[in-house]
Amino acid sequence: MTSIRLVRDDLRPPGPPPRRHLLSVADLTRDDVQRLLGTARTFESALDREVKKLPTLKGRLVINLFYESSTRTSSSFELAAKRLSADTLTVKSAGSSVDKGESLKDTAQTLGAYDPDVIVIRHPQIGAPQLVARVTDAHVVNAGDGKHQHPTQALLDLYTIQQQFERLEGLHVAIVGDVLHSRVARSLMQAFELVGVRCTLVGPPALLPRGLDAEMTTDIGAIHDADVVYVLRMQQERMEAGANYVPSLREYAARWGVTPERLRPGQKVMHPGPMNRGVEIDPRVADSVDALVETQVRSGLVIRMAVLYDVLTGGPVGVRALAAAEVA
């Protein structure tokens, strides 16, 4: 995997060793992933105690900067920080100066003036976390940037699969649906490659990105052999009107919807949420014992605790993200 490089390194003053961020799965090594999953496991056992709060990040400030709506990601980052005793501040674009036209750069610099240890950012545009990393001194965690990356989602999914199967290597996951608009799919594919999970992409032709180096098919029958069927949400908010990626949601559901009839007994199903029941996932599947959706949410909390802990204290997470490189 090629790591993301920042060209504008000339604009950053030289100085102490680079801050550690989590901007993209492409910046992680297999060791990084294993360490993060291990840390998450440690935190999970701590959460079984009666008093769930750990003093680990006492006195640290974590700012959540959310430019897109989110339930599970923003709540789990906030809770993760609180479980680790950090101070948290959540800024949502609605009702903030963003409504008055403030640029991302200015908002980031304003929040940066409070000297946060971590800025967690979700933004509809690719590369927004890189920009925040460039203009502030905080450790930056990408909580989703456009259709690009959602690294903590990929990590929590690996964690969920590992809990379920007690291994990762050699498993086969079919990712079904709107791959084109999915940052989850992009991050997951890179994560799967790191840990040796085979990945097949299944979906309508126009929603499978052209030029992607991956196993791809339009045949829903391809999910049959998978250990896990990972269902993506149809992202209608990212589809421009009249684009006709599929003729209708009804036809999509009929052709690619994940139904009990299309699954083997005991085949595990995952979904990053929020679900469109009756479109990409049949409600009977969503509510079955083989759906790991709630486990994913629980994994999200401990993975985000592990990520916050790791960028502030641990080994090299995504340092290479900021390695300077010349264009071309």
């Binding site: 993301i4 060209v7 590369g127 456009g146 690009h148 990356q149 990105p209 052209r210």
Partner: protein
């Protein structure tokens, strides 16, 4: 025709010891050149200096100065980004003796009044001659032709809706028919918007991996094919702006072989970069058309070598700092290029042996001049001095502070380049000196 600049004192100079290279005149030799009152008077050895200033150009190359057929001067409307004065200073620093400005300003150059005001400003401010294109359709909206005959009489060099395509084939046909009475060419931005729609990056492996909406090559090439077919049918010449894809180049080559009077241009960034550069997420590698695959880049380079592509054009597109200091998708398309064009092509193409120096000099000067009927800059006695003195060995770092342009959205910030412009003489006057 139709190029305007402020009055400058004519040069009286003897340029001594330079290697004079003018591929069109078939000259490549060390000779002295004497310029009397802006005209090349004598070429030879041991020239009488005529009491002129003597420039020691030993080790330098003296060549016909460059012509840029595609520049955005942002005037009127966005003078914070570029003015006629700053843009022509930048051009002079890049070795250009003439540039052509695109009409996608605010307001669009679609009336003789707007054009007249520009010509008047150029007559006061332009450091080097600048020609102006007028738009094909009013407001570049694609639904009504401009008064092309009047615009041509008022000084329009050619017509273009650059920045947007002429979407309707019927409108393009009418434009071709009517342009014939003006004797001016149409310069076409080829983009099928229903295919490129919200694309920011070439549709390929990089866009797929990073999640950018794709802008496929075919969005350009289907429009190139359409316009070539219409040009052939109407028997009218066309010029294809900023070609980016192998398919477009193949279509142009086929059409030219079939006798269609079509020309094409390519930018330095499309000759040097591929979509791989977008991995940096740097808004300064965002342009329209987008950077494409390595196969496209190689096809463009081949076409430049064999003459299918006649001209190098910078598509110099200045943008304010705050407009580019945003995430990639929020940034406008376009990069600057006047001050780095020769140096980067010399460094990345000529030095590694991928492009002969003579070819580069021709495609940056005689090629674009020929397309638009401008007198080609030449190194020969009797010609007006339009000359560039090049130091091919000098290494320099691209420093945004040193730009004459008002904007800094260059994809080469901080790059080390080899080869620089030591002096530019435009229309008989010294326009730039290092």
């Amino acid at each position: 025709m139709g190029v305007y600049a402020k009055k400058q004192p004519p040069a009286n100079l003897v340029i001594r010891g330079a290697r004079v290279v003018d591929p069109m005149e078939g000259i490549d030799a060390v000779v002295d050149v004497r310029i009397d009152a802006g005209t090349i008077a004598l070429m030879g050895l041991d020239l009488d200096t005529n009491e002129h200033r003597v420039v020691d150009a030993t080790g330098l190359v003296l060549a016909p100065a460059f012509v840029d057929p595609h520049v955005h001067l942002r005037t009127p409307g966005r003078e914070d980004e570029e003015t006629i004065a700053s843009g022509t200073q930048a051009a002079a620093a890049g070795g250009f003796c003439a540039i052509l400005a695109m009409p996608n300003t605010d307001p669009v150059v679609d009336s003789a009044a707007t054009l007249g005001a520009l010509l008047e400003t150029a007559g006061r401010e332009a450091e080097i001659p600048v020609g102006f294109l007028a738009s094909i359709t009013r407001g570049q909206r694609g639904d009504e032709l401009t008064e092309m005959a009047e615009l041509a009489d008022a000084g329009a060099v050619a017509f273009s809706d650059d920045g947007v395509p002429v979407a309707s084939a019927g409108m393009m046909r009418r434009a071709l028919q009517y342009a014939a009475v003006t004797g001016r060419k149409l310069a076409l931005h080829c983009e099928e918007r229903t295919l490129s729609h919200d694309g920011h990056v070439h549709e390929g492996a990089v866009a797929a991996e990073l999640g950018f909406a794709g802008y496929p090559s075919v969005a350009e090439s289907v429009m190139v094919e359409r316009d070539l077919a219409l040009a052939e049918y109407e028997g009218q010449p066309i010029h294809l702006l900023h070609l980016s894809s192998a398919e477009s180049v193949a279509a142009l080559r086929r059409a030219r072989d079939a006798g269609v009077a079509a020309s094409g241009e390519v930018t330095p960034h499309h000759l040097v970069l591929t979509d791989d550069a977008v991995r940096s997420l740097d808004p300064n590698v965002k342009m329209n058309p987008p950077l494409r695959a390595e196969t496209d880049r190689l096809a463009l380079l081949d076409a430049l070598r064999d003459g299918t592509i006649d001209a190098i054009a910078t598509d110099h597109a200045p943008h304010a700092l705050h407009e580019k200091d945003v995430p990639f998708e929020a940034a406008p398309f376009g990069v600057t290029g006047l001050e780095t064009a020769f140096a980067v092509l010399h460094t990345r193409l000529v030095q590694p042996g991928l492009l002969p120096l003579e070819t580069l000099l021709e495609r940056m000067s005689a090629g674009p001049a020929r397309i638009f009927g401008i007198d080609r800059p030449r190194v020969t006695p009797g010609a007006t001095a339009n000359l560039v003195l090049l130091d091919l060995a000098r290494e320099w770092d691209v420093d945004p502070q040193s730009f004459k342009s008002r904007s800094r959205n260059s994809w080469l910030l901080g790059a080390r380049l080899t080869g620089s412009v030591a002096m530019t003489i435009a229309n008989g006057s010294v326009a730039f000196e290092q």
